[in-house]
Symmetry: C2
Subunit: 198 residues, 2 copies
């Protein structure tokens, strides 16, 4: 997605440890008009699937998932980190390692909100080593639901998450894939792109 690559080049900042900060528009401050463009692009990429639910994990995926869900006209379900007192005992659970926070989270989802009848689009802001997405795929498996695809805003193509998911046959589409980055430059993988048509 050309507009996203341009936005990353303009506003993104590279920090030590291969961390890309895009907190001016994606995951701290959120440019809602731009995130609507992201939602439309996910619709262009996955709109032909019989999607019944969009699944993400708190926290930074939630806003993107909600805006995107408007185009698919389906509910969002977000998996929660750690035990919450007001969730049922009837939970799907998995573990997710956070790259940026350098710790392991328990991730939970109420069984009421994902069943074998569901066709699921997974949405998240970043894909690096793939731990968050793999945790969500575990939950989809456990529910017996059908994974229709994974839509990522920014993939770090130099880490293994994307390659491994594609090798498993997951229909993963990332709106921008970073091939390499240094303090002074960010290079993207070339991607085919067609204009969104109403």
């Amino acid at each position: 997605m050309k507009a996203l690559e341009e936005k990353i080049l303009k506003e993104g900042q590279v920090r030590p440890g291969h961390i890309l900060k895009v907190d001016s528009f994606l995951n701290h401050q959120m440019d809602i008009e731009f995130i609507n463009e992201i939602g439309k692009e996910f619709l262009r990429l996955f709109g032909d699937r019989p999607i019944t639910k969009i699944l993400t994990v708190e926290a930074s995926g939630i806003g993107i998932a909600c805006i995107t869900a408007q185009y698919f006209k389906v509910p969002v379900v977000f998996a929660k980190k750690a035990q919450s007192l007001n969730l049922d005992g009837s939970l799907y659970t998995t573990k997710v390692q956070s790259y940026t926070h350098n710790r392991v989270y328990d991730v939970i989802l109420s069984k009421k909100f994902l069943t074998a009848d569901d066709h699921v689009l997974v949405i998240d802001d970043f894909l690096a080593n793939g731990c968050a997405v793999n945790g969500l795929l575990d939950i989809i498996d456990e529910a017996g639901a059908t994974l229709e695809g994974v839509g990522i805003v920014i993939e770090k193509g130099f880490q293994d998450g994307g390659r491994e998911l594609r090798a498993r046959g997951v229909d993963l589409k990332s709106l921008a894939i970073i091939k390499s980055m240094t303090d002074h430059s960010i290079e993207f993988e070339k991607q085919e792109e067609e204009p969104y048509e109403i």
Copy 2:
């Protein structure tokens, strides 16, 4: 908001400890079409203010804030719980006690995204003892920004948060205020309401 009260009565479940579960539409599964109605209602209530930013705190406020922000045509900024490795050192910080999680969080917000020029609408899903909102108001104070109002989806009117905020002169509007609840019934405070007009 009549439609919200009806939705709470239909889908809400009361749990021991005065916990109201509305996770079928608000804060685990999210009914995006309905949350758009919530966004429109916040616009009706606060649309005459010169709002430049919507502020919330992760996680369950984010989706509601993002949908609402579309009607105000402003960015969302969400405060983050705990230290994140990819945030600047230049942060507003405060502490928030979570009622449902029974613990204290450090809450942080990058100084880049809230300044003395901002006119802020605070949005959150629940108001009970008011700790989360008070934390956000501390941050707004620290930034020297102007608080234009606080919009809450569900206020627990039998706890002190709302009363204390109104006593301080905060323009707090809650779309549903629960007067009392038992295992078998939920009673709401009467509220004036006008239909939303385009």
